[in-house]
């Protein structure tokens, strides 16, 4: 794709839009949250998305995918972002699915990916061990034991980790926390002995889990990529997942901005529409500018993968640095410009605010990604 949507992508967008509007208004996400739904998303809806071919967009036809690109996936993710649909694209497709796709042996891919594409199998990627994103800060240890490994350690913020069938786990087979070398990726069944999950409810109503590995045993055939060389898989997985997350954020930006703009045009104070106040007009113009810039860098990042460019990492960090800042700006301004009503749980704008904050921290905030961009640029 280029910097604009193709005809086919526009058609896909319209389809995704009417699907989401019809089957997944923001209200649905609220209900899942309020009823403390055990799954946290709708398995039925997820399967429908599978039937529509959306889950498998990235995956090869041989495993039931559509073999399309991030341009197409981005269109769907953005529409999900517009309605705050909590279906597990990030955990199952972008993180777990990509790890299997990029690092899995042929048998592993054949074993796991068809179920992913159909919506039957949920995957998670367990990497994070502390609050701030730091991909190599891994202490969870994997020690050789016969034909397999024993895993010990604890992970947090494992998206959809409480319902995942398999947990792709980043563990250390050599070196010490912070080293890029010495990481290995394992595909561990969630119901294996020694694996326990504690669901953590997050501010955005989505699911994450703390996963404890207490001498869980995993076969050597379930290693993704090379032993000690897991970062070679992890880096591109994070880049791709980050870009996909940015596509979703873009949809949330659009919706939060449009709703706020509408409010400026309707709410009256001092006998006039509040949108007549220059202080607010200028800030609305700033938000618009940020939204447009975010769209440009996200589309460019999507094409960096689809066109096989060399600068995917720069694009991923550039896009996430910007989208994290824009999340703060648009989310914060959206609440502020709604005044008191913006602070109520009933008004949906607060749901966007909270989702955007969670997305800001997921896979690294702006500071992290500007630092990484600087490293990639040699300073």
């Amino acid at each position: 794709m280029g910097l604009i949507l193709s005809e086919d992508q526009l058609i896909l967008r319209d389809m995704a839009k009417s699907f989401c509007d019809e089957k997944s208004p923001v209200e649905r996400m609220r209900t899942l949250r309020d009823t403390r739904d055990a799954v946290g998303f709708s398995r039925e809806l997820w399967k429908e998305m599978g039937e529509l071919g959306w889950i498998g967009i990235l995956f090869p036809e041989a495993v039931g995918g559509a073999e399309m690109g991030y341009g197409e996936l981005g269109v769907v993710l953005a529409e999900c972002g517009r309605v705050l649909a909590p279906e597990p694209f990030i955990s199952t497709v972008l993180l777990g699915g990509n790890a299997v796709l990029l690092g899995g042996s042929e048998p592993l891919r054949k074993d796991l990916l068809p179920g992913v594409c159909s919506g039957d199998r949920i995957l998670a990627l367990a990497f994070q061990e502390r609050g701030r994103f730091a991909p190599y800060a891994v202490e969870t240890a994997a020690t050789r034991d016969g034909s397999g490994y024993r895993i010990r350690g604890e992970k947090q913020f494992v998206l959809d980790g409480h319902v995942a069938d398999q947990i792709v786990t980043v563990a250390r087979t050599a070196g010490s926390a912070g080293d890029r070398d010495g990481l290995t990726l394992f595909v561990i069944d969630a119901d294996a002995p020694g694996v326990s999950a504690l669901r953590t409810e997050m501010v955005d109503g989505r699911n994450a889990a703390r996963i404890t590995f207490d001498n869980a045993v995993v076969d050597a055939a379930r290693v993704l990529g090379e032993v000690d060389g897991g970062a070679d898989i992890l880096d591109p997985v994070f880049d791709r997942a980050t870009i996909g997350l940015c596509s979703e954020m873009l949809g949330s930006f659009e919706e939060a901005f449009e709703r706020t703009l509408e409010y400026l045009k309707t709410r009256e104070q001092f006998g006039v529409k509040i949108g007549t106040f220059q202080g607010l007009r200028h800030r609305a113009a700033q938000m618009f500018g940020e939204l447009e810039f975010a769209r440009s860098v996200v589309y460019d990042a999507q094409s960096s993968i689809d066109d096989g460019r060399e600068d995917v990492a720069e694009c991923a960090s550039g896009a996430k640095a910007r989208c994290s800042d824009v999340a703060n700006l648009i989310g914060g301004e959206a609440v502020q410009m709604h005044g008191g009503i913006g602070m109520t749980d009933e008004e949906e704008i607060g749901l966007f605010f909270k989702r955007l904050k969670a997305a800001e921290f997921t896979l690294g905030d702006a500071i992290y990604h500007r630092n990484r961009y600087a490293s990639l640029r040699g300073y």
Binding site: L261, R370, A374
Partner: protein, 385 residues
């Protein structure tokens, strides 16, 4: 038209033939005059100062792709580019609003870089509120007689002609009594008095009209209908630079990254100051996002997709980007970036001081930043006033 690849090859071999070696240094102020003159003549001969204008008006008759290819080739060898009020603002406006006669008279000299133009818009009492301008033009026979004053007129002291906004109907409402008119600067009723800027240069002037004369046939667009023409020209003005990437313009040879690396120093491959490192990364990303956004707007327009008018946004973000680029360079240089003149400073450091000052104007000319935000809120977001 030749295929793009063939065209590029043609341009390359043409450049080898006509471009003197001492010009391959970018757009600097101190370029050797004779070489520059020869290069401009060579460009003009092929119509390549204004490559996308029709050939009958002195242009190169190239389509968008070939124009872009030509510009890329010229940029690649760091040859100086030729751009002026005439090529970037008046020309495109004339192409749209001029009569055939006006186009044939005024465009070819612009495309040969022979006539220098200046822009007579702002007045002491009419800046952001441009339409409140008071300079009067009264018809006498087939000439207008002009009285009044312009200010901030860039290049007025060197200009041959002026495109000027004048009030031709003082009774009409403020937008409806304005005409867009062209007249020569070298005549008894025109007096130019340069103003010194904070960077020490005297690029702009006050211009006084005391019975200056313009031919009635040199009104562009309808008499009293000049506001529409004026606004379109402003769009061209805003897009002139909105699309360009940063890159410490002017005489500077170093990139911002070079300067910061040198002044701040690297430790383990990272800039020693993490705060400046963050700012530099943000700066590079902003420049990239701006150029992607302008490119995307172009692609949207060509694909016939909802093309929002992105001109004001581009001008606004460009101005901020250019200014913050200088701010970061200044921060890296510290007090060595504060030199004004004389010994104790390298030339590049003195140039930096001046460039930092010069770029403060970028958020003022062509509509201030605040005015651009007003335009976005009103015209793009359509928030009622």
């Amino acid at each position: 038209m030749a295929s793009i690849e063939a065209f590029k090859l043609e341009v390359r071999s043409w450049i080898e033939e006509v471009l003197p070696a001492d010009l391959r240094v970018g757009n600097r102020k101190d370029l050797p005059k004779e070489s520059l003159g020869n290069w401009i003549q060579a460009l003009a001969k092929r119509g390549w100062i204004t490559p996308d204008w029709p050939t009958e008006y002195g242009g190169g008759g190239l389509d968008r792709k070939h124009t872009a290819a030509l510009r890329a080739e010229i940029k690649a060898v760091r040859a100086p580019t030729v751009s002026s009020f005439g090529t970037s603002m008046l020309g495109p406006t004339l192409l749209e609003f001029g009569t055939e006669e006006q186009k044939l008279e005024f465009l070819p000299p612009i495309s040969r870089h022979e006539v220098k133009w200046c822009q007579g818009y702002s007045e002491p009492g009419a800046g952001s509120d441009l339409a409140s301008l008071q300079t009067r033009a009264v018809l006498e026979g087939d000439e207008y007689v002009i009285n009044g004053q312009k200010i901030w007129t860039t290049g007025a002291d060197k200009a041959d002609w002026i495109f000027c906004l004048v009030r031709t109907d003082p009774k009409a409402s403020k937008h409806d009594g304005i005409s867009f008119i062209l007249f020569p600067m070298h005549q008894p009723g025109v007096e130019v008095s340069p103003l010194k800027l904070i960077d020490g240069s005297a690029d702009f002037s006050q211009v006084f009209f005391d019975g200056a004369r313009a031919k009635a046939k040199d009104v562009i667009g309808p008499v009293n209908g000049g506001w529409t023409v004026a606004k379109r020209l402003l769009q061209h003005e805003r897009s002139t630079d909105g699309g360009s990437e940063g890159g410490l313009s002017g005489a500077q040879k170093e990139t911002l990254v070079d300067i910061v690396k040198r002044e701040v120093g690297l430790q383990d491959g990272m800039l020693a100051d993490p705060a400046i490192r963050q700012r530099l990364a943000a700066q590079e990303l902003e420049a990239k996002a701006l150029s992607l956004t302008m490119r995307r707007a172009g692609e949207e327009a060509r694909a016939g997709q909802t093309a929002r008018d992105i001109g004001s946004l581009g001008k606004y973000r460009w101005a901020n980007m250019i200014k913050s680029e200088q701010d970061i360079a200044m921060t890296a240089l510290g007090t060595q970036g504060l030199g004004w003149d004389g010994p104790g400073f390298e030339d590049t450091q003195l140039e930096r001081t001046r460039a930092w000052l010069t770029t403060r104007a970028d958020s003022i000319w062509g509509g201030t930043n605040e005015v651009q935000l007003n335009v976005i809120a009103k015209r793009v977001l359509k928030i009622p006033e």
